[in-house]
Symmetry: C2
Subunit: 145 residues, 2 copies
């Protein structure tokens, strides 16, 4: 695990400590963190504030996305994958895809390079959250039980 990924993992833990959904993301240029974010649905009552969106928002207006990598602790959903495709970010590094499959196949079909780390710490953090807060998780993924 490199230090940029570990910053995303720390953001996920920070989100959980802040009573929210434990997903973290980092926008990076090579080994340099540009911006960090975590899911802020609970904290901001903002359903669009997924971790990846929060990081992209924090990074502000840019024209260098083609040189950047987005790190995230969980496989990106359609919203966040759509952002990656729209902003033309060429590379995504994902902590784990076992708790949520995301849109990895679609990302690859659109030419995005996707790496899944299978990080046991991210997997356990998310699994614990889903058991503890099933209604909140269903809300975040628009799942009707």
């Amino acid at each position: 695990m490199n230090n940029v990924y570990l910053a995303a993992l720390q953001a996920a833990k920070d989100g959980r400590a802040d009573a929210g959904i434990p997903i973290g993301a980092v926008l990076a240029h090579q080994d340099t963190v540009i911006a960090t974010g975590y899911n802020r649905r609970v904290q901001d009552a903002d359903p669009t504030a997924h971790a990846e969106i929060s990081a992209l928002r924090a990074a502000g207006r840019r024209t260098d996305y083609r040189e950047l990598t987005l790190y995230t602790t969980l496989a990106p959903c359609a919203l966040c994958s759509g952002a990656i495709v729209q902003f033309k970010i060429p590379r995504v590094v994902i902590g784990e895809a076992s708790n949520f499959p995301g849109e990895i196949d679609w990302l690859r079909s659109r030419g995005v390079q996707v790496q899944v780390l299978n990080d046991p710490e991210a997997t356990e953090l998310m699994a614990e959250f889903i058991v503890a807060e099933p209604q909140l998780w269903d809300e975040d993924i628009a799942h009707t039980p």
Copy 2:
């Protein structure tokens, strides 16, 4: 043009009057406007604040997306189409798709009902903006000229 669509068109005009990108959106339940938004890239220095995202953000946390319709003056990009797919919004009404094709085919492939109004007023508003502010438009669609 129904009144809900006209509220999205007015939001687009408001965004232009506010020195921004003239794209407006409305989240609605049948004929009732739930929330309105316009592109706020310029106003908030937020690249994720496309019109549709702004409207979804303004609508807050919800579990009734399956009963709603998203109206937008311009064909939704991958980011906004991803939000529609992720939130499971079943229907999208689009002012025009001639200035930007968006991801209409992908939306339909994911089961979203898409209607394009071919509204001349939205088309002219956007065409005028693209001529007046080509760099800003390129930035918004991550286009490298």
